[in-house]
Amino acid sequence: MEVPRHWRLKKQRYALVGEVCPHCEAKIFPPRDVCPECGGEAKTTFQFSGRGEVYSFTTIYNPPRGFEENVPYTVALVKLDEGPIVTAQLTDVDAEQVEIGMPVEMVTRRLRQDGDERGVIIYGYKFRPRSLAS
């Protein structure tokens, strides 16, 4: 497991830092430097609120290598309030309770451990249910 690759992503993983396009104001996550809406250069950083709703979801029974310990777990496409969709695990919720449209908020959790390889523990965003009032 490559340490610099994960270190490089820390602003995105820990704080949902993306970009805002200075030309058309589109909010961008993950950062991509060229605005997907207008094609202009977009390098201005923007921190997302971490609030959104479930756009779609699935429950994983056969995980890729490295994610065995949490099986089964739920992964979702979360549509952030600011517009972009992000792929993330859901946490603090039973799979049967998840539905499309459910309001969620970002939390920081352990994503995985690389086992015997280098001992790196990777943290990052997951999303948990939030009450509509909060």
Binding site: P30, F57, T58, I60, P64, A76, L77, T87, L111
Partner: protein, 382 residues
């Protein structure tokens, strides 16, 4: 650009070929294709493959296979586009011949998947997704397709078992294909009983992996007398964002639409002219999305074609006539070449009980990743 014809085809059965290496499999398909083509001198070899560095610890498949087939010192290169590697290699060979850079080019798709533990193969397949923003979140490749399917069912009001009709058709057709991985008819009840892999995707929504290779020899059309030739009349390739979450509309295969439009325009054809369609049903949801993006169904209405029998060999738009990915099998980097080989078999009238009557115009569509690379080809009998 010159017109290009298919001189020969070859394929191996898709199976767990523990006794054969990747070079032997590729060689088998190429030798069969060259034999059909009456052993022409080859100018170049294009190898479609996805996983060899990860699963076989072998890169540099161009010279590896060129050496094996006796093409010593000839140009040979591997083309990688995840599960669309096969069609990408075919398009490279097509462009080489059409442009005049080569007289005779061979395209072979080959994949060896059963040497490793399935979990490592699952990981390898997932590298087609965005490593930083999809894979590191723990989503598998099946999981990405499952999220697309879940949203599709929600948006268009289908039940997951409505998609079973795609798998039933594929399995039925594979019964008559000796090269297919699975020879086993299934029913809707079998589908509903099969276990969840990543909800709502069941085992019987998903295509099986396997080892296999398929090859085609291409040459300028004027080397053959007109009448009874198989010509490549349309070729299109397009891409979309690698991550599903970055798509403008995750329920529409933009790259399928774009590459199909390109192929239709080149061939001077429309969806109504296509006699049959070998599409990329890695998961049943992809069959629906492919039909919609290629112009055979309105958005959200792909499953209707399956439920009403339009996709069967005798239907309006037959698909997966040799079993599709679902039952012929999905040796990922070889799949696109199997599709091309099967289109040629249909155009030659070699498909027995699943022969499409009077097949003259066939189309193949190969999807890489969850829709990131898509190639569409049209072949015709003249």
């Amino acid at each position: 650009m010159r017109k290009v014809a298919v001189l020969g085809i070859g394929q191996t059965k898709i199976a767990e070929h523990w006794e054969f290496s990747i070079r032997e499999l590729a060689g088998e398909a190429v030798f069969r294709a060259l034999e059909e083509a009456s052993q022409p001198p080859i100018d170049g070899l294009f190898v479609g493959n996805m996983l060899s560095p990860l699963v076989e610890h072998q890169s540099s498949l161009g010279p590896l296979i060129a050496d094996w087939i006796g093409l010593r010192h000839g140009e040979a290169v591997k083309v990688e586009a995840a599960c669309a590697s096969g069609a990408a290699a075919f398009r490279s060979a097509l462009m080489a011949v059409a442009s005049g850079q080569m007289e005779i080019a061979v395209a072979v798709g080959v994949e060896k998947m059963t040497d490793q533990h399935p979990r490592d193969v699952t990981f390898g397949l997932a590298t087609a997704a965005d490593a930083d923003y999809e894979l590191d979140q723990g989503v598998s490749f099946v999981g990405l397709n499952a999220m697309i399917m879940q949203r599709y069912l929600h948006t268009f009001g289908w039940q997951s078992s409505d998609l079973a009709a795609f798998s039933i058709n594929a399995h039925q057709n594979a019964l008559h294909n000796p090269y297919a991985r699975l020879h086993m008819a299934i029913t809707r009840e079998d589908y509903e009983r099969s276990h969840m892999v990543a909800a709502p995707i069941r085992l019987l929504d998903a295509s099986p992996i396997g080892d296999g290779a398929a090859a085609v020899v291409l040459a300028p059309a004027d080397r053959l007398p007109p009448g009874n030739r198989v010509l490549v009349t349309g070729s299109g390739a397009a891409t979309d964002t690698i991550a599903v979450h970055s798509r403008r509309d995750p329920l529409f295969l933009q790259a399928a639409w774009r590459s199909a439009r390109q192929a239709y325009q080149q061939a001077g054809r429309q969806p109504e002219d296509i006699d049959f369609f070998e599409l990329h049903d890695a998961f049943s949801i992809m069959a629906a999305l492919s039909l919609e993006a290629a112009g055979f169904a309105e958005r959200g209405q792909g499953p209707r074609l399956a439920l009403e029998g339009d996709i069967r060999p005798e239907g309006r738009i037959p698909i997966c006539t040799r079993g599709g990915l679902k039952a012929r099998g999905h040796p990922v980097g070889a799949t696109g070449m199997y599709q091309i080989v099967e289109v040629v078999q249909q155009l030659r009238g070699e498909c027995g009980p699943t022969q499409v009557p009077a097949a003259r115009v066939g189309m193949a569509q190969n999807i890489g990743g969850s829709g990131a690379t898509i190639l569409t080809h049209i072949l015709e009998r003249d």
